[in-house]
Symmetry: C2
Subunit: 409 residues, 2 copies
């Protein structure tokens, strides 16, 4: 079975760290299985390249931007291959294009169309570990493309699928997925495994370890993803993201996510009639604004309040787009609030156990924490709170749902 690993930018953030990663790779490769390793750009390289482009152009052309950014991963893959060979094991570095990663031509956020593994297989046959520049592919024109956010994770999972790997190992600077962010709650525990659907919700709700896109791809191709630390001892456990988690009871809270990048807009007292949402959210989408939570509260006299959340970066533009629409729709006023956080309980089967929502609301109410807004999905309950109460809420909920306790099996 082919081994597929991915190392993030922090894991190769210096020559010393890159050499430590090379040692892990050489050690694993010595076990004799074919091995493909996806690597991100070293440390802050990508940010530095973005800054260079920004110094030259206010709006850099996307094609050349991708060409520029792709060099970061080419450098780290070439150096990592050198470091592995220095340890006596055969290794070659491949760009995304050389590794057969073909994408569409939407520069900056290309989607993988397919992977031709011919070259990789040939290098395996020659006894080489294949080090692949992550985050990138080639368009039909043989131009560099980049995959956008979460790109290297996506490269790794896609390669895992194409190479029929048993699992994809994602090495990063944390030891796995936790019951909540350990920087907020010191009693947070690492989860041995988590369902992909849960991970998707957690990622969407602000848990930054894995990009949802890579998790989705793992789900689609049914490949388990192991998230572990590149700094921990070799073979340390990490967290397995699987299609289904069978070994543990499903009806419990798995993790609590805190998303600080939340701003809300509210159209107050809109006359309630069909098509309001389309009239509002069409133009927002056209402006490239990603709308997160949407809540519409039916009010008195067929007047309704419509609230939605966006990232802080999109707030100003969202207000510009929404203001004339609010007038057209007859809203009494357009309010906005950027001093908010989202706290989400995530766990499979929560909806079928209504006691969870009740315990969540009671815990917050007992601590005089006011809930601004509530949304739920099948495996998630999210509340919008004032920013300054976010961390306290996470800590209280972590205890209330006994996430600091080992799981009884």
């Amino acid at each position: 079975m082919t081994v597929v690993q991915k190392y993030g930018g922090t894991s190769v953030g210096s020559i010393e760290r890159l050499q430590a990663v090379a040692a892990r790779i050489a050690h694993r490769a010595a076990q004799g299985r074919p091995m493909a390793v996806v690597v991100s750009a070293m440390g802050k390289t990508t940010d530095e390249l973005v800054a260079l482009a920004g110094a030259v152009s206010a709006r850099p052309p996307r094609r050349e931007m991708d060409m520029l950014l792709a060099t970061g991963e080419i450098v780290s893959s070439a150096l990592l291959a050198m470091a592995v060979r220095e340890l006596g094991h055969g290794a070659v570095a491949l760009t995304g294009a050389q590794a057969g990663v073909f994408t569409d031509d939407t520069f900056g956020r290309a989607r993988i169309r397919g992977i031709d593994t011919e070259r990789i297989q040939r290098e395996f046959a020659a006894g080489n570990v294949v080090i692949i520049a992550g985050f990138q592919g080639a368009s039909g024109e043989a131009d560099f493309t980049t995959l956008g956010r979460g790109g290297s994770d996506t490269s790794a999972v896609a390669l895992g699928a194409a190479l029929h790997a048993q699992q994809v190992e994602i090495y990063t600077d944390v030891e796995g997925i936790y019951t909540t962010d350990p920087r907020i709650e010191p009693d947070a525990r690492r989860l041995a495994d988590i369902a992909a659907e849960e991970m998707l919700e957690a990622a969407a709700q602000g848990a930054g370890v894995m990009h949802p896109r890579a998790v989705e791809l793992g789900l689609l191709y049914d490949i388990p993803i192991v998230v572990a630390s590149s700094f921990a001892a070799d073979g340390a456990a990490g967290t397995v993201i699987r299609k289904e988690v069978l070994m543990e009871p499903e009806d419990r809270v798995r993790t609590i996510a805190l998303d600080r990048d939340v701003a809300s807009l509210t159209l107050r007292q809109v006359p309630d009639r069909p098509g309001i949402a389309a009239q509002l959210f069409g133009p927002l989408a056209d402006a490239g604004i990603s709308v997160d939570t949407i809540v519409q509260n039916a009010g008195e006299d067929r007047l309704t309040d419509l609230t939605f959340t966006v990232s802080h970066a999109d707030l100003e533009q969202a207000r510009e787009v929404a203001a004339p629409l609010a007038r057209e729709l007859g809203a009494a006023e357009l309010l906005h609030d950027h001093d908010l956080v989202k706290v989400s309980l995530i766990g499979t089967g929560m909806q079928s156990a209504p006691g969870y929502a009740a315990l969540m609301f009671r815990t917050l109410s007992d601590a005089d924490i006011n809930i601004e807004l509530i949304t739920t999905s099948e495996i998630r309950i999210t509340v919008l709170l004032r920013s300054e109460q976010g961390e306290q809420a996470v800590q209280l909920l972590h205890r209330a749902f006994a996430l600091d306790q080992p799981v009884s099996t």
Copy 2:
């Protein structure tokens, strides 16, 4: 007629300089002729990448080294294309591979097999200036290759040939080819033109402006090369390197070159018989040591002294290779000397005018400068001198041959 330009690393050594180059390009492109621009890596980028590789591996694999180094020119070409577009003119950046530069697979010093200009022509048709990463190409395996020393100049001249350009413009940090190095002789004058053969000799004898390889390619394809400063006003003259220089008298000294990177080895009193040279220089070539001047002086009693010069970097290894051979050949001793310089007078038709050699030797002798060794070619007289007398010799010869005087026509 297509315009082909090349800008060196110093010319794009900072964002400000790169923007100044972009302004020159946009100004020229506005005249409406198709335009291809070859660019080197910014400033010290290549040295930094070499240092990174050196930190990872004592002997970095050549294939990955080329992959690593190629990123330097990809970065500068992407940024330069962005900067040109920022000025309102269409521009795309292409890697060597995308520009159709195909090479053999001798990594580190690949030779160009051919250039498929289809993509470049397509970008011309779309109204784009094409910015091409210099110094690089693609092997048959679609691996990055680099062209070795003088690589970007070679890229530019090869593209000039493939695109049927009228001339190739090489922009660098000097204003052209001079009668000698202006840092040594303040009265040195810029030459309006120089014959390619003269330029080849000058480059081989230490005049660092152009690599001989690019000059040879220009000669082979009969494309004039204009060397000019990227810092001078747009349209400043520079020096034209042509196949033949017809407009000036041919029988005069054109330029004086000083080469400081000279060490000599001498096999003293070798019994003179056929095959000595082969026995000595075969193993040196096999060891990758580039031998420059070779002089064999027939001595008394069928014993001969054999002297050759190498670069300082190669001296130690040359001694190691030569020592056992000297014993085999029966030499009395193996001497070496690294405290030498070469001073060369270069000019077409010098051999047919023996007065030049006489004037050279008299000038040096009048100043008590001892000549260690003399070699000549059809268009060159070279003397080996003690290091400390090199600059004085250049200054005296510059005056003796009236190179500080405007040419009378």
